[in-house]
Symmetry: C2
Subunit: 380 residues, 2 copies
């Protein structure tokens, strides 16, 4: 699963590259030795062209800056309802101002051959429409998570990709970064024995009550949709299994103006076919939780933070030993994710997290809500 | 809730005591200054006499050594089916060998006026019988947790205490030690705002398949009864509330010879009247888990280990701040617990964790099993 290119960033690989740089420099005889000792990365190959749709906080603070770390992706177009914001960002990131679209002109992106991939960074409730229109424009699409508001919308997106013969990927960022990949490896290879229980908690105290995440039509649901999905994903990708039973409990503080349309908290339990159980929590009402622990027969390993944009930490305990902190390369999650999509597009490969993966989560989220509402174990 | 005597062990209190010692020493003019600077504790007052019933690992390794740390409790009798073991322990702890009983002669303890309190350290399924016989012998009784195998047995124990006009306490050790007491204080005083979610995990990989904990008649149940009860207790004592709804899932590895009679793992969810939700796990199949975290609107605080006999660690995070480790006095949990019971007996006070508290847990454990078995939310 880890990008094999990243695996090469070892000390040995580093020294070999540095050595090659030195040979070239000596032949030229022009640079000072101190400068010549620096490794010089190869120039990038062809990069896929990306259009970013929706210039909110995630696009501004995470996605656009990440292109500087990409090997296979470059931003070539912006789609926004705010022309001034788009112009400023275009200037900062070297996007031709003629390649700025609004939501009316969006479909004309089909005439822009520079755009290979469209990244949908809109509120959840708009993912389906803009993904389908993107596919109809003949482009590949990466949609933010959760994939849409309903399984039916997810299916429409998958169908649009199929008809257009274009890729559809869901932005499950954590599948592309080293810490979560290491957790998956440890679980699957049973480094500390078979997995028994997964304990996952994700949430934060949400602020501004007017934001789209708190509007049912735009968000599809509350904490479960937005942040509980990380706990659900972790349980699924660590085990590599699909849950067969779900219990859940929701809670919303009466009178809290933030939660007029969507739920505050949803806790859920999963049973997997192998017997692994998961206890998961999600909330918009508690102070930041971002962790999961995998408990095995011989120890446990955990990430906390687990799924943030950066600063992830891994702790590992083998029974009887001290707790060990395991360090891994610090990488830009968004760059890894976008480069994976670019690679799929350029090499004709299927994404690790295609539309079908988003649909599976959406069906499970509906089952979680059903369990919470009915007070019964839902079999899926 | 914390013992007020313990609260006095501050630096200021220490210096005052040291100063008083110095005055006395100077008057005597006999000791070297270095020795005179040491604080001399007051001699203990009257101590209640204890009989320990059941000389297994807990009695040998924790309870008997703890008397050396007691201010109000001394061991004066032993009850065991193994006379040689009892003789060796009597010799080590200064118990008159004439005060060794077996399970037949147990009732004659009524004729021993030195014994005020009987501590039942037998397998769960024997708590009821030996508690009732203890009360019938006119003694006060401290029973290990879980209180018994069934709510009916708990009620019989409570009734026996009432009839005999003697105290009955359940050995919820964690209620008497500083770390868990501090967690309770922080929650109740809303140091980091109101509690929203409690996440509690307790369990270990159980060994010897022939041990009593794996026999239904002696243990009453599996991991939930023995170790899940710590998660249940934590959720209850942190909130100070009684749960109103319970979900649960159990799992037992097919063919595992340890789990022929009792369940391996039970995960459960609780809803409290204030809206607090709890996610709890218990297992005899996963590697040691011993922790709970209290998540509030403004941060979180946790113990890990949370309920072990020693070595507890507290971490506190206020939103936006670094994680803080909070240190507290290291105390012997069993000494604190036994001294509480002695104090209740000598001063005619009611224990903090009376039989009724054990009965509440037992009813809730039955509701957890019912929820797991029925696949429905159980309202309690």
């Amino acid at each position: 699963m880890p990008d094999s290119r990243e695996r090469d960033v070892t000390r040995r690989g580093f020294l070999i590259k540095a050595g090659q740089g030195l040979v070239v420099t000596r032949a030229l005889g022009a640079l000072a030795p101190s400068a010549s000792a620096q490794p010089v990365p190869d120039p990038p190959g062809k990069k896929a062209g990306w259009a970013i749709v929706g210039l909110g906080s995630l696009a501004i603070n995470q996605i656009l800056p990440a292109f500087a770390k990409c090997e296979k992706s470059r931003v070539v177009a912006l789609v926004s309802g705010h022309p001034e914001k788009a112009k400023k960002l275009a200037a900062r990131y070297g996007v031709d101002p003629k390649r700025i679209y609004d939501y009316q002109s969006y479909d004309s992106i089909k005439d822009n051959p520079e755009v290979d991939v469209i990244y949908i960074v809109l509120p959840n409730g708009m993912h389906a429409e803009y993904t389908v229109r993107g596919h109809q424009a003949g482009k590949h699409v990466l949609s933010e998570k959760p994939m849409a508001n309903t399984p039916a919308d997810c299916q429409a997106m998958i169908e649009a990709a199929r008809k257009a013969n274009r890729k559809l990927m869901v932005a499950y960022r954590c599948r592309y970064e080293p810490f979560n990949q290491e957790m998956i490896r440890m679980a699957r290879e049973q480094e500390l024995g078979p997995v028994k229980v997964i304990l996952a908690d994700h949430g934060f105290s949400i602020g501004d009550p007017t934001q789209w995440r708190l509007k049912k039509a735009l968000a599809g649901g509350g904490s479960m949709m937005d942040i509980g999905i990380y706990s659900l994903q972790a349980a699924r990708y660590v085990t590599g299994e699909e849950p067969v039973e779900i219990n859940a409990m929701s809670y919303t503080t009466p009178g809290d103006e933030r939660f007029k349309e969507v739920e505050e908290a949803t806790n859920f339990q999963l049973r997997f076919p192998s017997g692994v159980l998961a206890n998961c929590s999600s909330s918009y009402g508690y102070s930041g939780q971002n962790r999961y622990r995998v408990v095995t027969t011989k120890g446990w390993f955990e990430l906390e933070p687990a799924t943030g944009y950066s600063g992830l930490r891994m702790r590992v305990r083998r029974r009887g030993d001290a707790i060990e902190e395991r360090t891994l390369p610090v990488r830009d999650h968004f760059a890894l994710e976008m480069d994976h999509m670019s690679e799929c597009v350029m090499d004709g490969k299927d994404p690790l997290t295609p539309g079908e993966e988003g649909l599976r989560d959406m069906r499970l989220i509906m089952a979680v809500y059903e369990a919470a509402q009915s007070g019964k174990t839902v079999k899926v």
